[in-house]
């Protein structure tokens, strides 16, 4: 497709990679809109986003953004986020070797017979926990890295997968260093 923008698209030579950013913010009205607004206004991608208060005394929230881009683009996103007044810190989790990332998914399977048995077996392999059961359905809770959850969902597709709810990625750095 031809460039739809009126501005030129510079040839991006560097490889596009996924990046996980933890953004520590003052929990004040509108802070989430600021972060999301900045990302959408500048045309960056968001693959997942989670947010919750993590320190009630200091009114700090942690926003975890999964985004994609060239290294230059990711640096730009970090710098732009860093300019926002309520943003206290931007941590590039993907720069860390072996950072821990987890996501939780709730999955509804509607099936009977062999398919139902197979879904049960897969759930065991993925250490998914059944939260609710009827004769024709299961709801599983599964946690893990995003790839693991994607793999689980792919396998469940032919087995009656009907509904999915995911938290988006959470992340934390290994070792003793704190935010």
């Amino acid at each position: 497709m031809e460039n739809a923008s009126v501005y030129p698209v510079p040839q991006e030579e560097a490889a596009v990679a996924e990046s996980i950013l933890a953004v520590i913010v003052d929990n004040e009205p509108g802070v989430l809109s600021r972060v999301i607004g900045l990302i959408s206004a500048r045309g960056y991608n968001i693959e997942s986003l989670t947010v919750a208060e993590v320190d009630a005394e200091k009114h700090r929230s942690r926003i975890t953004v999964v985004t994609r881009g060239t290294p230059q683009k990711i640096e730009q996103i970090k710098a732009q986020l860093g300019r926002l007044v309520p943003v206290r810190r931007v941590i590039d989790i993907s720069e860390e070797t072996d950072a821990l990332t987890r996501e939780l998914a709730l999955v509804k399977i509607v099936s009977t017979g062999d398919k139902r048995v197979e879904a049960m077996r897969l759930a065991e392999i993925f250490r998914a926990r059944p939260l609710d059961t009827t004769h024709t359905s299961f709801i599983f809770e599964v946690t893990g890295a995003r790839d693991k959850i994607n793999a689980f969902l792919d396998l469940l597709k032919p087995l009656g997968l009907t509904e999915v709810s995911r938290t988006g990625v959470l992340s934390i750095r290994r070792g003793s260093e704190a935010e």
């Binding site: 030129p8 009205p29 509108g30 607004g37 230059q72 926002l84 007044v85």
Partner: protein, 608 residues
């Protein structure tokens, strides 16, 4: 977790207790606001009253410490504050009402955001209990202005108001400056609370300028010592960094012998009369400036952001150079062009550190000069092209000639120039020359037609005895023409020098270049009689149509001690040259003459 209602409702019961009314040191929110503005050194507010700011206007009425300049349109208030801020180095303050007051201010705020002008804009809001109910003159000011301010605040409680004002000024001034908005619900303006001084107010650790890194300075100077074809590429950031930064730039340029070019926004930081000055660069910049940028081996960008008007085709931008970028804003570095060495910090501080480091080696100046001799000779050849030259006429006034005469006849005066946006703006940048910073106010980033007249008003407020001229076009000037009334009311003798070519000239030029001269809706039909219009407002009007009458008319304009609309009838078909067409590189400039129709590449045609 982050809804507005949570916070306001949670706090609402605490504040209306009758005990608070009796506390003698407590004041109404409107008074707290003015106290905080006073403490921040605010002398002037540009504003327009309305229902949601009545308590603030009432408080203002009883104070003589702050002057209020009433405008005729809220956009004018913001541009006036921009002119005030840009010409004085202070923060401009705007006060407007809710709803339409706030939405009318949006263009001005966006303009200030793109050109990094420090402003604090106070907007009224409907009472807290009415927010979200589509009340009369309610709009989601915070939502609307989030994208066009550096930061904005909704004041949920009068107790927070002083600290918010102090932080707003901190945010507006520091880092890359910009507009900050404070939205104050009407009941908060009545609500009573204690004042909090700047010193004890809650200080968030935001927008901190890092200290100079000696290692970076050493490495940068090492690159400068090795350069054979260096150039300083300076921008509006040098102006924002204050007169000290301009002084440091001059000193460093003189000692190193490096040539200097500047963006539209940076004009005046380096004196145009200096032999090392290359003129403005970019789309309508000089031949020598653009070629120096293209051919340099070391580019030192100072407070400049590699705007598309400056870089031209990106993949052909200054291909053979190492690049040092000095900027106070980390997000401006490597945004468009990848640089070899970013230095984050205040332009003045960094330039001074570079100078100190440069001076550490003796005889450096002499060595540099001999190293640069070939480069200087090359630049001299480019200068010989005389790229701003135009063909004059004794029949019609050429717009370039009009500006040349205006420049010559105002030399030696304490003169400040503002412009609107379009051809006249480029001619002013090319033919009016600035030797000092803060003398040139123009809308560079957003390109806002209508900026110049209200900006001139703001400049005249900051410099009551100076000569303030808005170099305007016949189309732009009509966008904020109502501000003539403001100028009259406040005795501001601004001179509006209209280059009247009866066209939306720049758009017409692009139609000639890109659309085979099909001038779709760019002829200014039904222009007003500017002379009568000026008189109707209570100002003076002058019209000149022949080149021979120009000097006398300018002399007459300068002698009039009230606002003047100067209708300078100029030739209609003149184009701005030189020009780097869209999609072309710095060394592919067009010069005077008619367009042939194939100047712009296919890729270039889709660009603005």
């Amino acid at each position: 977790m982050m809804t507005l209602l949570d916070k306001t409702e949670a706090r609402a019961p605490a504040q209306s207790a009758p005990v608070a009314e009796l506390e003698p040191t407590q004041k109404a929110g409107a008074e707290l606001l003015l106290d905080a503005l006073e403490e921040q050194g605010v002398e002037v507010i540009f504003g327009y009253p309305g229902g949601a700011v009545l308590p603030i206007y009432d408080a203002l009425h009883q104070r003589e410490t702050i002057r209020h300049v009433m405008v005729r349109h809220e956009q004018g208030a913001v541009h006036a504050a921009e002119g005030y801020a840009r010409s004085s180095g202070k923060v401009g303050v705007v006060l407007v009402t809710s709803g339409p007051g706030a939405t009318n201010a949006v263009t001005g705020l966006t303009d200030a955001l793109l050109d990094s002008i420090p402003l604090v804009c106070i907007t009224g809001q409907v009472a807290r209990g009415l927010i979200g109910t589509d009340a009369f003159q309610e709009c989601d000011t915070i939502g609307i202005t989030r994208a066009c301010t550096k930061h904005n605040y909704l004041v949920g409680d009068a107790r927070d108001l002083p600290a918010i004002v102090h932080e707003a000024f901190h945010v507006a001034r520091n880092g890359r400056p910009g507009p900050v908005l404070i939205d104050i619900p009407k009941d908060v303006q009545f609500e009573r609370a204690e004042y909090v001084t700047r010193r004890v107010a809650r200080q968030r650790n935001c927008i901190v300028t890092p200290p100079v890194q000696p290692k970076e300075i050493e490495r940068a100077v090492e690159l400068m010592r090795q350069a054979h074809r260096p150039v300083f590429y300076t921008g509006g950031g040098v102006i924002n960094a204050g007169v000290e930064a301009s002084a440091a730039l001059r000193a460093l340029a003189r000692e190193t012998g490096f040539p200097v070019t500047s963006t539209l926004m940076g004009l005046g930081a380096f004196p145009a009369s200096d032999p090392q000055w290359l003129g403005m660069l970019g789309m309508h910049g000089s031949f020598e400036a653009n070629n120096a940028m293209h051919g340099c081996d070391l580019m030192i960008a100072v407070g400049a952001r590699f705007d598309d008007r400056v870089t031209g085709r990106l993949d052909a931008f200054s291909p053979g150079s190492r690049k040092i970028q000095i900027d106070i804003d980390p997000s401006s570095v490597n945004k468009i062009v990848k640089v070899d060495m970013p230095i984050i910090g205040d332009a003045g501080t960094i330039l001074e550190a570079l100078l100190t480091q440069w001076r550490k080696r003796e005889n450096e100046a002499a060595a540099a000069r001999s190293r640069l001799s070939e480069w200087n000779a090359q630049i001299q050849t480019w200068r010989g092209k005389n790229s701003f030259a135009f063909k004059n006429s004794d029949q019609v006034i050429k717009p370039q000639f009009a500006i040349e005469r205006l420049y010559q006849m105002t030399r030696g005066k304490d003169v400040y120039i503002t412009t609107e946006v379009g051809q006249h703006q480029m001619w002013a940048a090319q033919h009016f020359h600035f030797d000092d910073p803060n003398r040139w106010m123009t809308s560079g980033g957003l390109g806002t037609m209508g900026y110049g007249l209200p900006a001139a008003i703001g400049v005249q407020i900051a410099h009551p005895d100076a000569l303030v001229i808005d170099i305007a076009g016949d189309a732009s000037v009509q966008m904020m023409m109502q501000e003539m009334s403001t100028a009259i009311q406040h005795d501001l003798p601004v001179k509006i020098f209209i280059l009247n070519n009866e066209y939306l000239g720049m758009v017409r030029q692009w139609q000639e270049l890109l659309h085979d001269g099909r001038y779709s809706h760019t002829y200014s039909e039904s222009l007003p009689d500017f002379v009568k219009l000026a008189e109707a407002y209570g100002g003076a009007g002058l019209r000149v149509e022949k080149p021979g009458e120009l000097d006398d008319a300018i002399k007459e304009m300068l002698a009039i001690d009230k606002p003047v609309l100067f209708d300078c009838r100029v030739s209609g078909e003149e184009n701005v040259f030189p020009m780097i067409p869209s999609g072309a590189a710095h060394n592919q400039m067009l010069f005077g003459g008619a367009f042939t129709g194939d100047e712009v590449s296919k890729e270039g045609r889709v660009q603005v």
